[in-house]
Symmetry: D3
Amino acid sequence: MPLSDDTRAKLKTVSTATLCTGLYKRGLRSQFVQDVRPLDPEVETMVGEAYTLRTIPAREDLNPITVFQDRAHPQRKAIEECPPGAVLVVDSRKDPRAASAGAILVTRLMTRGAAGIVTDGGFRDAPEIARLGFPAFHVRPTAPTNLTHHQAIEIGVPIGCGDAPVFPGDVIVGDGDGVVVIPAALADEIAEEAVEMTAFEDFVIEEVRGGRSILGLYPPTDPQAKEDFAAWRAARGR
Amino acid sequence: MPLSDDTRAKLKTVSTATLCTGLYKRGLRSQFVQDVRPLDPEVETMVGEAYTLRTIPAREDLNPITVFQDRAHPQRKAIEECPPGAVLVVDSRKDPRAASAGAILVTRLMTRGAAGIVTDGGFRDAPEIARLGFPAFHVRPTAPTNLTHHQAIEIGVPIGCGDAPVFPGDVIVGDGDGVVVIPAALADEIAEEAVEMTAFEDFVIEEVRGGRSILGLYPPTDPQAKEDFAAWRAARGR
Amino acid sequence: MPLSDDTRAKLKTVSTATLCTGLYKRGLRSQFVQDVRPLDPEVETMVGEAYTLRTIPAREDLNPITVFQDRAHPQRKAIEECPPGAVLVVDSRKDPRAASAGAILVTRLMTRGAAGIVTDGGFRDAPEIARLGFPAFHVRPTAPTNLTHHQAIEIGVPIGCGDAPVFPGDVIVGDGDGVVVIPAALADEIAEEAVEMTAFEDFVIEEVRGGRSILGLYPPTDPQAKEDFAAWRAARGR
Amino acid sequence: MPLSDDTRAKLKTVSTATLCTGLYKRGLRSQFVQDVRPLDPEVETMVGEAYTLRTIPAREDLNPITVFQDRAHPQRKAIEECPPGAVLVVDSRKDPRAASAGAILVTRLMTRGAAGIVTDGGFRDAPEIARLGFPAFHVRPTAPTNLTHHQAIEIGVPIGCGDAPVFPGDVIVGDGDGVVVIPAALADEIAEEAVEMTAFEDFVIEEVRGGRSILGLYPPTDPQAKEDFAAWRAARGR
Amino acid sequence: MPLSDDTRAKLKTVSTATLCTGLYKRGLRSQFVQDVRPLDPEVETMVGEAYTLRTIPAREDLNPITVFQDRAHPQRKAIEECPPGAVLVVDSRKDPRAASAGAILVTRLMTRGAAGIVTDGGFRDAPEIARLGFPAFHVRPTAPTNLTHHQAIEIGVPIGCGDAPVFPGDVIVGDGDGVVVIPAALADEIAEEAVEMTAFEDFVIEEVRGGRSILGLYPPTDPQAKEDFAAWRAARGR
Amino acid sequence: MPLSDDTRAKLKTVSTATLCTGLYKRGLRSQFVQDVRPLDPEVETMVGEAYTLRTIPAREDLNPITVFQDRAHPQRKAIEECPPGAVLVVDSRKDPRAASAGAILVTRLMTRGAAGIVTDGGFRDAPEIARLGFPAFHVRPTAPTNLTHHQAIEIGVPIGCGDAPVFPGDVIVGDGDGVVVIPAALADEIAEEAVEMTAFEDFVIEEVRGGRSILGLYPPTDPQAKEDFAAWRAARGR
């Protein structure tokens, strides 16, 4: 079930916070990638299907610097084969002691049209990556080459990332709060619902800024709140 | 013992670092809220009396999304009842895996005249909150709704926040270094002393910028240092 | 083996990421100071020889505020004796619960001509230090005075900092990714090699920005890549 | 809804593992007290209603050794008022750096007829407590007096213990795997179900010891497995 | 390269400490499974080839209790297909909050002739497993069913376990110190060398018990030490 | 101020819990070595003056296995020079990923008459060490040679161990609860006081076993409690 243009467009307009609430309502409590943040806090919202890369702890004899001479090395292969519009999600076992990637690989990923990159480890060349205007999320900057602690081992398999389960094709959304994983089969309905919730939250925050209490308004247990929202939507065409 | 306007004004002009030294001199070593930071690093110094909210780990059956239909839900009640000028301090058990609050609630708190909010968990909608111009301190951004891991359970009781003890009415001060908790009974004398210390530190840093050694100056074991400081104060009317 | 002006100048032009790769090639995998970051992300690259300060956990009776009246207190002595051009590296046992230093001491260190300061703890007055234009790296801001948890005990001995071994005289380099420790005996050759690697990486990133694949280019297993690089160097005089 | 003798008796015969499965089937995934263990691994299964004690971080000026001269001190009061048959559950904020209690208090609790004690901190005099034959669960031994880091503050309120929510009256069961919290309203049905599950698991383990595959047997998707279990129950009168 | 009977027999007679030294001499520093211990401290040394099972964080909708009705569920399949003489190594992502397996599955694994089981999570029914006389290693006991936090996803792939890389077929050895992973290609030579080292260490400890200094003896830089060892070996036929 | 035979003898009869209370009364809250335990839980109480060994993170090129051919290597030197009756305290930077020592070195230390050994890392050959009847305390067993992560660097300097400050000559006491560090100058008075407290606690626990309430008894705010204690002492000659 590929991500439709319509759903992608909708997801670009909502927040990870709103999406987490939609997931929560469906009993999904573990879809937020814990402890990752955007390198560029001003970057636009990232949306794309998960393309996964898995790592294991590096064994010294298998990871000389020469391994990258192999064009089939999974890290390099993942960068070159991640589909346009997809998000490369790297399972770095929550270990930022060595980099998951650096500026050259992330730039290549960007020029190939990927939607973004997420690791539960760290990136090297972090200041350069932050200036690319490309959505990239990690735990913290880290200079050592990935070979120091990570051996990329497998592409396109289910992984964990920041304690969240990620299946290839799941829809990944990232913003200033972090990254959320939407199961592929739920993406359309969650996106639809999130657009509605966002309209309501925009209305609420306007009201609250104007001095209104949240009681009866958020959630709208007071019938007046529902009427006011309907009027607000009509006035704004949302 | 309510916080006086005079003490509040004084505390606005000093740093948490200086206050921690004042507390240290009195044998209080655990009053700094560990590992929290302002969402907006440029925000003005936060000062207010502690209004506390306590949470426990969320039990799934007690935390459907519908609980917020109850106007007496402690999280919502805390937002609506926190006194103007007070700081809402949330004991989130140092767990930022789910949000302690989001932009709507924090905006409401701000419009109600609170002085700020602190949690040893995280906020959702963190970029929005950062733009409010309202002092808010947390561990890190986090998108999941509070119900995912936190059940707000009690208001107005002594709590822990970031390993610091917080009693309702304690004076909370926050700046770029973080947040400190001043026992209510000590607020006046600590504020007074901190203003004096700040004058001295301003003098010292001027001298140091001019090339003077810290030896004999900081602390002023050299009599000349004391004389110079007296002259400096006289010249500046401090 | 003092750090030569030539090597210092070279190290100013390369990144910690590139240096870590050079160390990795020599079997050194533990030279990155884990989990520290610059207070000012825009600061220039820090380069200098390590001048070390070691701390132990503070014993309450040995650390009244009056200890600083002793001009020989190791923390103050380290600030006043760190050689110009050196980096003060503080072993704070990875404990940021209390400050390793504050704005006054860091300003003094700067005016004395030191190249920077690193701690695996935290600084107080962090916003002020961030504005100094002086390279300073730590884990996070922290307001409590160092006496709360740290007793400075020894200067000029081998230490650990962020899980990296640091010997006095090792060459310390810091940038937006963090801080790396180069064994003194390797500094010249690593600097030389890093300058070469940087030229190549600058070439690669230009190519990648232009749409070229990393396969065959990075590393340059394709002979064409080597030729292109030679042409690029010739054209730029690098 | 007090714990009935029948349910108490049933719970004495089942394991925390089996109970966790019963809770899991009802959507409760957070009822296991993480990272606590019995001081005496051979102790009998602990069953009782939760009687709760909450702590906050200790403030030095409020916790001189003389506080225990106050008979109303919450820690002492909790020991003297915990009902016979109940389990004293202490929220120590997952901090074992100082003791939650020692041998004298635990012995007093035992002689008063309590069913056991649980803390997500540690006990002092741990070897003595281990020899009492009284169910006691903690993170690890720790010699410092509770006043060093804990201030007992409140009795009989909902708390967290090892990341599990605990409401007064919840049914606490502990064995060699650790401690589980059963919501009071579910205790009867969970106990009933667990007794049935235990009979089935006893049958299964006998079969498995005899060389039978778990496929089709556990769970019993093979009709023969159900028949064999029925025969086994009949033969043993269970 | 299957594990030979001869190498298996040799490995049964040496310690994980000695094996780690052999690996260290070959530049392998990450082969010890960190933070796992035997459930039964008296169990015999475990030796076998790694048969691997990988997990990801559990997604709630994919992990109802009914999943075990599927005979192809990877956890159950791993138990039923692990070859005799092999060690089942489970990558539980260092998360002991829910069980990796319980007594029924471990008993089945034992009766099928496996050599042992290792997880970097925990086991439920830990006291029962400890009494089986079957080598089992974990972080700590934990009662919740694996479905609570773990979804078994893949068998027979390279994994991480306790920060060690584990490839299928690597030789796993466990004793009272924990578990070490020997790359398959090195097993014969490491075993051979470890037997020699063990003889020497047995000699040394006898000498040390008799009051001899370790200087010159361990390592045997004193020629007399080598002579004495030769005599000792001759006398004992080792 | 060497440890007197009288004080040593007294300390053998009291618990680390009682000693921590004595230290607490003097404002010393950080003298307990956090998170270490005896390898043999049945071992007798350890008492001795601290003889310290400091480590830093291991740099690979400085730590080939051949370093032990140097008789002056600090780890070996510490074992051979630790005075009889002293406790070797190793600052392993709270890192148990590699061993601080193994059975051969600990046996040598024992035969040389040392009183015990403590590390905030781990020991290899832990089961063997546990059988020596020699007091040894650590975090957990760990098989890798110390060279993997630790470089012994200095003997006889102040160190941290498990977050406690340790000065050479401080008096180290260890039992089933763990290890406490008594500043040398306080050892006599703390020992004296602890013997008195122990007599009182022995009286109290007898009373409590007999059914007496702790209120008024512990502490003895009820005059009757003091009288009863006086009678108890008289009867037992304590």
